[in-house]
Symmetry: C2
Subunit: 340 residues, 2 copies
């Protein structure tokens, strides 16, 4: 039976604090038809990411806010099911910014073909996609880890964090992860061979715990979370420490202003450097990063973890789970099976 | 009459909050005698600087705390009055870290000879000394100003701030200064040709005033002061803004913890870079910076301002004045006249 409807999840109101299912609406639209030079793709997997929370608010950020009554934008993997461009063939697998919908019209330049011989195709949204590249450039370009330095990563069992920690291990660093469950801590220690890992939810004095885990201080603090976890890490910076600021997930749903110890004195006394970034700043160097990551994944020196929820209708729940700390590694939604 | 006593100002107790005269004691010691390889110098001018406040507390900072019962350390200009080393001749003028005392024993490698043909010798403690070098490296190495960018400097009428602003003008930037008196504002606008200057003490909404002064946002914020002034500036950062953190004078006497809006979200959404530094990090490049500064001063493209208090016994008052915002430019104490 040919597909006749495109399901989409729209943002229908802007969340205050933690988003709820009421902020979203699942709608069915007529199946779009590709014009000359375009192709129709069917979504196989889509990505739900913490940064999307920021775009649901109507304020300046590093990416523009989502519009109301439009589908949530984001990365997805699809299969070409109809093509009016020679650059894409029916059956091609592609990754692109098609968002929360079961089908999409794309132009060839908007998507990248996936080579399924390197690794499972889902990695194109994770370790071999924006997630992995975020870890790669944030850690290596900003963090500049050197052998025997101490690298601390918060959100360590998240999709970005676990790649950061593993690259730091490859670079010869002592790696300390901060995460929010014993399950995650065990994974970091036993599977990814982090040197230490701290469950911030069960640790009474995080600063003390970090100090114990970092007897030589902190040279790189890769910040995915912000808030009090970062306060603790920033108090232990070594001379000329580096702090890539990648995310602030602890704040995304916070309604009150984010107030805490100002950090400039710590930055000053340690001659430290803090730099915010988004992966798009490194677009020109994506081929370099993608090739390195693919090599590490193929040779088994970087492991990855995916948490795949089945069914397009469960997308919102999967997204909300990110803020409950449920996901180990990359959170994906499986939307449909690949043809044959 | 030969000099027989060395006067020193000792730190006798650690200040809590704003220092008072009780924290210091003026003592007389027997005149020290140079050993082989050393020289005796008589202090002509000494420097009082905000960073000294940090060293009066007993906590980790970028320089170690001063010891109690010892003279306050810092930069000074002296004349060699007795020498037991061929590298220094009686009558030589030198600058070095001899601190708050009327005489000192030095080894040649601890001091640098001053060439009085370039500019008045007092500039060796200011625009042609550590102060100018601090402005030079902080602005150019960390701030990296480009033509037509907007550079905001706090503490703009202080010794470092006014050099920062003038170098930024030389680099073709729009320069906005923040200072604390109308006298200072007038100086910045009329003498140094800043594009705008804001008196934070008489401005009710600093963020609004900054926004008006920076219609294209802020590309470089050179931070000398910290606190709420910095909060306002950091809310206006452009994409990939740079923030050299040079000082936090608003906090040095503060006893309560420095709490305010956490800045990581601003750093993140603007892909900004903040870096703390002390001038010593650039020691290898001092000759380059000193040559550039001397050229600019000689050709008149950088002006400087010195505020000279007469008399060693007024050193503590001159130091305390730094925190009342009394000084325009570099604060010095004249200790004695040059011979003949």
């Amino acid at each position: 039976m040919p597909e006749t409807q495109n399901k989409q999840i729209l943002l229908v109101s802007r969340p205050k604090g933690i988003p709820t299912t009421d902020n979203f609406q699942l709608v069915e639209q007529p199946m779009p038809v590709p014009a000359q030079g375009e192709a129709l793709i069917r979504t196989l997997y889509l990505s739900v990411d913490p940064y999307m929370r920021g775009r649901m608010s109507d304020r300046k950020s590093y990416v523009p806010p989502y519009n109301l009554q439009e589908p949530i934008g984001g990365g997805a993997i699809g299969e070409v099911i109809e093509s009016k461009t020679p650059e894409l063939q029916t059956g091609d697998l592609v990754v692109g910014p098609t968002g929360w919908q079961t089908h999409a019209i794309v132009m060839p330049k908007q998507v990248r073909k996936i080579d399924p011989s390197i690794a499972p195709i889902t990695t194109a949204l994770g370790v071999l996609g924006m997630t992995g590249l975020t870890a790669y450039f944030g850690l290596l370009d900003i963090g500049q880890p050197k052998p025997n330095e101490t690298v601390v990563v918060s959100g360590a069992a998240g999709a970005v964090g676990m790649v950061v920690g593993q690259i730091a291990k490859l670079k010869g660093c002592r790696v300390v992860g901060i995460a929010g469950s014993d399950n995650k801590i065990n994974y970091l220690l036993n599977e990814l061979k982090f040197d230490a890992a701290i469950n911030y939810k069960t640790t009474t004095d995080l600063q003390e715990a970090l100090q114990a885990a970092c007897p030589n201080g902190i040279d790189v603090y890769f910040d995915n979370v912000g808030g009090e976890i970062s306060d603790a890490a920033l108090s232990l910076l070594n001379f000329q420490a580096r702090i890539p600021v990648c995310g602030q997930i602890s704040l995304y749903n916070q309604e009150e202003p984010d107030v805490g110890p100002r950090i400039q004195s710590q930055i000053l006394i340690s001659s430290a450097m803090m730099k915010g970034f988004i992966v798009g700043n490194y677009a020109e160097r994506f081929p370099e990063g993608a090739a390195e990551l693919a090599r590490w994944v193929k040779e088994g020196s970087i492991k990855y973890q995916e948490n795949i929820v089945e069914g397009f209708e469960n997308t919102v729940q999967a997204f909300l789970g990110l803020f409950k700390g449920e996901n180990l590694g990359k959170q994906l939604v499986k939307v449909s099976d690949q043809t044959k």
